[in-house]
C-alpha cells in the first residue's frame, strides 16, 4: 500500500511529465495546417510511427494517473466514512485502468493490427 506522500510524489511527477509529452503531441498537430493534420490518412500515418505510438501511450498512462488521482483527492474531501473512501479509491483506480485499456486498444488497432 502506497503512503500518501508517495502518491503525491507520483502526482507531481506524472503532471510534469505529461506536460512535456502533451506539448509534443500538440506540436505534431501544428507541423501542417490543423485541418490537414486531422485527415484520416495523416492520423493513421502518425499511429504507424513507433516513437509517436510510445508518446501516445505515455500520454495516456500519465494523464490517466494524474487525472484520476486528482479526482480521488477531490472526492475524498467531500465525504468521510470508510464505505465512501474505499468506494472512491476502488472506482478511481478501476476507471484509470479502464481508460488506459480502452486507449491502448485504439492505439494497437490503429497501429496496423486492425486497420490499414
Amino acid at each position: 500500500m502506497l503512503r500518501e506522500r508517495q502518491i503525491m510524489r507520483i502526482h507531481y511527477i506524472t503532471g510534469l511529465a505529461a506536460l512535456f509529452v502533451v506539448a509534443v503531441h500538440i506540436l505534431m498537430r501544428l507541423i501542417m495546417p490543423f485541418h490537414m493534420s486531422l485527415q484520416y490518412s495523416n492520423v493513421i500515418a502518425n499511429y504507424h510511427n513507433l516513437p509517436y505510438v510510445v508518446l501516445l501511450e505515455s500520454i495516456l498512462v500519465l494523464l490517466a494517473i494524474h487525472g484520476f488521482n486528482g479526482l480521488r483527492i477531490i472526492l475524498l474531501e467531500l465525504r468521510q466514512n470508510r464505505t465512501w473512501e474505499n468506494g472512491v479509491t476502488i472506482s478511481t483506480i478501476a476507471a484509470m485502468i479502464a481508460i488506459i485499456a480502452f486507449g491502448t486498444r485504439t492505439i494497437i488497432i490503429a497501429n496496423g493490427l486492425g486497420v490499414v
Partner: protein, 157 residues
Amino acid sequence: MRTSNRRGLFKTAEEDRNNREGLKGWLNPARYGWERVSYWLQRLTGLFLLIYFIGHIYETSSLTGGAGAWNAMLQFTETPWGHLFLILVIGTSTYHSTNGIRLIFTEAGRGLGRPGRPDYPYDALSLNYRQKSGIWIALILAAVAMFYGGNVLFGGD
C-alpha cells in the same frame, strides 16, 4: 457521537457536519484573495480537463471503425462550437500546467520566504507578490494560448 440515519456511502457523523461550510466553501472564491481564486481555478480546470481527456479518448477510438467512422466523428467535433470548446481546453490546460508548476515549487517550500518575527499589520509572508505574479502569469499565458489557438482553429489555414 450521534450518527445520522443515512446509511452506506453518505453515512457520517451529524456532529461533524454541523455548520460545515460544505461545497459552497470552495465554490465561492471571491472573499480571500488571489490564492483562493487560483485554488478554485486549479480545481475546476482539473475537473474540466479530465472530462475532456475521457471524451478525447472516446473521440479517437472512432479510428478503429475506419475512415467513415473517423470522418463522421470529425463532422461532429469540427464545428465552430467544437472549436470554441477546444479553445477553452487550450486555455484551461495552459492555466492548469503553469499554475501547477508554481504549486509544485510552493508545496516544496520554495518561493515563500523564511519564517521570521511578524510585525503589525501581520501581512502573511507566504502570500507574497512572487506567488501572486505566478498566478497572474498563468492567467496571462492562458489568455495568450487561447488567442493563438483561436487563430489556428478559425484562421482557415
